[in-house]
């Protein structure tokens, strides 16, 4: 249509060769940040990177496979954030509160990543990498909880599960706007979630059914 259509046409056409896979993952993250998971399309990601819509199919079987790759990277960031805020010397309850806070903050500060993991509707049985990438989260909670429920593995499992559900619930409702918008809302939700984690620890005797 146009004369000499450069392969670098478009503002973001800085991609050259050899890293298309990674470049697509990056572009997808930005795309989801702007238009949400629903608004993502393989076609637009291709345009952003500066390749044609056919190129991605050398690296991903289909659209969902790219989304799954994004979700795996998202979980790496998630795990780093949940793990990073704590030091092993802190008492376990304090570490769990910090992890809960980090969980909620991740949802707010990395909303596109959070949504890709939890709202993209990816078939987990099709992407076992996804399940594996989530396991460290369980492990982190369990490790701290085990110091509280010494010896009682069943009690530890139960407590860890409700602590994760507590963090997740606060994160989800925060993104849904239940706590308002802005950084005040994030702080409020994170604080409340952290306090709730302490309440769950204190009241953990009620978890035995």
């Amino acid at each position: 249509m146009f004369a000499t259509p450069s392969k670098r046409s478009g503002k973001a056409g800085r991609y050259h060769h050899g890293e298309l896979r990674a470049a697509l993952v990056d572009a997808t993250i930005k795309l989801i940040a702007e238009h949400g998971v629903r608004g993502f399309s393989l076609a637009e990601a291709s345009r952003r990177v500066g390749v044609t819509v056919a190129a991605p199919y050398r690296h991903f079987a289909d659209r969902d496979e790219l989304l799954a790759a994004v979700a795996v990277r998202a979980l790496e960031v998630f795990v780093a954030m949940v793990a990073g805020d704590t030091t092993d010397t802190d008492p376990p309850a304090q570490r769990l509160a910090a992890m809960t806070r980090a969980y909620v903050r991740f949802a707010a500060e990395q909303r596109p990543l959070f949504e890709t993991v939890f709202h993209a509707g990816l078939d987990k049985s099709r992407y076992p990498d996804l399940k594996r990438a989530y396991e460290p989260v369980d492990a982190l909670f369990l490790s701290a909880v085990n110091e509280i429920c010494e010896g009682d593995a069943a009690a530890a499992d139960a407590l860890a599960a409700v602590l994760e559900a507590n963090a997740h619930g606060h994160a989800a409702l925060l993104l849904d706007g239940e706590y308002g918008e802005g950084s005040d809302a994030v702080r409020a939700a994170a604080d409340q979630a952290a306090r709730a984690s302490q309440a769950l620890i204190d009241g953990r005797n009620a978890l035995h059914g």
Copy 2:
């Protein structure tokens, strides 16, 4: 294309006149049940009902307005379910456990409705009906919690908020497959959420920040 294309062509073409709005809401719910919120389209809903794609625009300004109508109906069912499982004579902690259970069961048994409310990405400022339709949920939790935190309104607000987040977290993780699939998973998630609500009540002293 075909001779005498009846206005009732198609398997589901039982719609006649005068209730297109309601018929579209019904069809949308079924559609979301089959293809998820993401897979919904106004066009297919129209086909199901047996009208052309133009007809809905007499009743809804656009696609999102139909989704919002579905969400409002969903919240009515939600409220009925959360309220319905309790009797006022039960002690408040028991009612809160039942409400929590109902919250989780609603997510599982009415998954399309739950997803429409929480995952459709509707702009709540554009649909004030949505916010209003959710208020009874808060009111139900608060009413039971007030019997526990007699007099202390701030404590009641905090406890109600974490109880709702607890229920929501379990519901969301259940739909995400964290508790497995099937009715066993639903029961497990609901039981765990109910026990966690008791733990939160027992440990509520930690909620004061």
